[in-house]
């Protein structure tokens, strides 16, 4: 599959112990730590961070689940236990600035943890990538690969676009990637930005069984495919899983990729 070709097989990311002088922490999250598909997003991101010579570090084995799903499934005390453990680790390494590619992690670190004394500057990876492009630390050169010429749409994750108002930066990255395309940019779905529609994984629904007729992901994938795009860009590992399933349920060959993976593909890394 085309997706395999753009995979970055191996990367190295320093831990906070290996690089104590780090400027920014890259929060990996459970999905990219353990889910084979989401792992590629983290590898793509590390490749980009290294290419832009960003001084970053990861928590490695000391990182725990943010507890977002636990809190939204109603298990407040399990969430608080995880939050307190993470806040302690983050303060141990004096973390101030965090990048995360998962909007649920972004929201938890930003809005949940601030209720328990954890105050951080948290940016979604699309925001950070937009800055790297703006500052010229990553440069888009050469021809647009054929794989990206067949139309790209972008699905706004709820916890990114609606809940945290982040919807222009991912478009900025994709806009730069697609500047030479026939479309001249992304193909928008009618429900986009703050009005985006859920992929079906939020609120702990990621962990629940759903009958195929009732899958939110199938209908949302239908909307994405109706734009005629052959690539569905996302900015969330849960959306990545859900929409990959949804696109398959729609019997489409379209690719579902994270914004960072699309940028890697454009840069030819």
């Amino acid at each position: 599959m085309a997706e395999n070709q753009l995979d970055v097989p191996t990367v190295t990311a320093p831990t906070v112990k290996q690089n104590p002088q780090f400027e920014i922490l890259y929060w990996i999250g459970c999905a990219a730590s353990y889910d084979r598909r989401a792992q590629r997003v983290a590898r793509a991101m590390v490749k980009l961070l290294n290419a832009a010579k960003v001084n970053f570090a990861i928590l490695g084995k000391e990182e725990k689940c943010t507890g977002d799903s636990a809190r939204r499934l109603g298990d407040e005390f399990l969430f608080q236990e995880l939050a307190e453990a993470n806040i302690a680790t983050l303060s141990k390494y004096n973390v101030r600035k965090i990048i995360a590619h998962c909007p649920h992690c972004v929201n938890a670190l930003l809005k949940d943890y601030s209720q328990f004394g954890g105050q951080y500057e948290v940016v979604h990876h699309t925001q950070f990538l937009a800055t790297l492009l703006r500052d010229g630390r990553l440069k888009i050169e050469g021809e647009l690969p054929a794989s990206l010429q067949s139309g790209v749409t972008y699905h706004d994750p709820c916890y990114l676009a609606r809940v945290n108002g982040i919807h222009e930066e991912p478009r900025e990255v994709l806009g730069a990637v697609l500047a030479q395309s026939a479309d001249g940019g992304i193909r928008e779905m009618s429900r986009c930005r703050e009005k985006t529609s859920c992929c079906g994984a939020g609120g702990g629904r990621m962990w629940m069984e759903e009958s195929p007729q009732q899958r939110v992901s199938t209908s949302r994938a239908g909307e994405a495919l109706a734009t005629g795009a052959q690539t569905v860009a996302v900015g969330c590992p849960f959306c990545l899983t859900m929409l990959t399933d949804g696109v398959a349920a729609q019997e489409s060959q379209a690719r579902v990729l994270d914004v960072a993976e699309i940028l890697i593909e454009r840069l030819g890394f």
Binding site: P9, I58, K61, L82, A85, D112
Partner: protein, 429 residues
């Protein structure tokens, strides 16, 4: 002659006394109705309303400024009612018409009181009068237009819009109030015979009066008195009906806009002390909701926007945020009928499966015109279910794994950095 009209012109002193008597009765019914609802809200957990208004003046202002802003922008500015095409315009027309007519009637009464103090204080004449009459005539049209559009909305009602028979009564009242208002104005012009700008500043009344120009003065005076009474009684009926119909959103809507401040993505924490003190987590009794949350239930107009954007509802799951609000409201309404210590459990009305269907996507909270926080209500109910072990299946497993392995998949913490190589050892399916 300066353009003007006499307050209570053609209305006998007896009628005037009767008018204020009926007015008092109508306001009394209104106050009783509001008190009846406010009493329900007070069954909830206290919200420290007074704290908003304590401290130094600058502190008080800082406390209430965000609420006032929401009142002005979302309420008066109608910012959250936008976005639904014609129905949004219908609401804007009805709202603008109503507010202007309310302001006009208030100014009229202020002028009346000023006149009673001294004739020199009267301001209802001259250029002010011309602008006043013209503005009210124009906004009356908006009011009627909004009413007619909303009647159409009820006739061709989308399924998400709630409906009760009393909604027709309300719209009929609005229509009758608007029409009799113009009739009173026209009949007054027939007997008063204003000329020039004093007549033309009321274009609708002037036009209607021209059709009755053959009436004698006494005929016009008699009809004027009759229609004036009809108009007055309709208005008083409307005021009395506010707390007993959907119109109650006039009161509960702005109150909720002022008090409710949902921050998307943020939930209220529960502390261990609270859990120990209350012997519970989350909401298992309607009284566990706070006063503002109960009030928010009364702010719901069943406009259905939340249902329209709900991904669970769209995929035929048993959740509609609107229905959750209405169900909670029906439980709240049973409060006066049960003993103080008798339980009133919302979980008896709202199925667990309904609550589990929510994806916490926040679309309902985002679109609600009166800022009801459906998500927090659902999560408060979920917290109780989870604390009672009500979560089962794969999601319960995920929670157990988060507890034991600090990740929902249950993989070892040692393998957390294995993602750096695409051939890591342990892999999920």
């Amino acid at each position: 002659m300066t353009p003007t009209r006499e307050t209570f012109g053609n209305i006998s002193t007896t009628s005037q006394v009767a008018f204020y008597f009926v007015a008092t009765a109508s306001v009394a019914v209104f106050v009783y109705g509001v008190w009846r609802r406010a009493r329900l809200w007070q069954y909830g957990q206290p919200i420290h309303f007074r704290q908003l208004f304590t401290g130094r003046l600058s502190q008080i202002f800082a406390n209430i400024a965000p609420g006032l802003r929401r009142l002005f922008v979302d309420g008066l500015g109608q910012q959250r009612v936008r976005g639904r095409g014609l129905p949004s315009w219908a609401h804007a027309g009805l709202f603008a018409g109503f507010m202007m007519l309310l302001l006009g009637t208030t100014l009229l009464e202020v002028n009346h009181l000023a006149e009673m103090v001294s004739k020199n204080l009267s301001f209802h004449h001259g250029i002010y009068y011309v602008i006043y009459e013209f503005t009210l005539d124009l906004f009356g049209i908006l009011f009627l237009l909004g009413t007619v559009l909303f009647a159409g909305r009820r006739l061709w009602k989308p399924p998400s819009v709630g409906h009760r028979p009393s909604d027709w009564l309300v719209l009929a009242l609005f229509l009758a109030i608007g029409l009799t208002g113009y009739a009173v104005e026209a009949l007054r012009m027939v007997w008063q015979q204003p000329v020039g700008i004093g007549a033309r500043c009321s274009p609708v009344g002037y036009w209607l009066a021209s059709m009755m120009s053959h009436w004698t003065e006494s005929q016009a005076r008699a009809a004027h008195l009759g229609v004036w009474w009809l108009h007055s009684l309709l208005v008083f009926g409307f005021i009395a009906a506010i707390p007993f119909t959907r119109l109650f959103h006039f009161i509960a809507g702005p109150m909720n806009l002022f008090l409710s401040k949902p921050v998307l993505g943020q939930l209220k924490p529960v502390t261990l002390e609270e859990a120990e003190r209350d012997g519970r987590i989350g909401v298992s009794d309607i009284r566990h909701l706070n006063t503002q949350q109960l009030l928010s239930l009364d702010a719901c107009m069943e406009c259905g926007r939340c249902e329209d954007v709900c991904p669970a509802f769209a995929t035929h799951k048993p959740l509609s945020p609107k229905k959750v609000i209405q169900d909670l409201k029906s439980v709240m309404e049973r409060l006066p009928d049960v003993a103080v210590d008798a339980p009133l459990n919302p979980h008896e009305v709202i199925e667990a499966e309904t609550l589990w269907s929510c994806t916490a996507c926040s679309a309902c909270v985002f679109v609600c015109p009166v800022r009801i926080d459906q998500l927090s209500l659902i999560l408060d109910l979920r917290r109780h279910l989870t604390s009672e072990g009500g979560l089962s299946g794969t999601a319960a497993t995920a929670l157990r794994r988060m507890q034991s392995s600090a990740n929902p998949w249950g993989f070892p913490q040692d393998e957390r950095a294995n993602w750096m190589q695409s051939t890591s050892t342990s892999q999920p399916d």
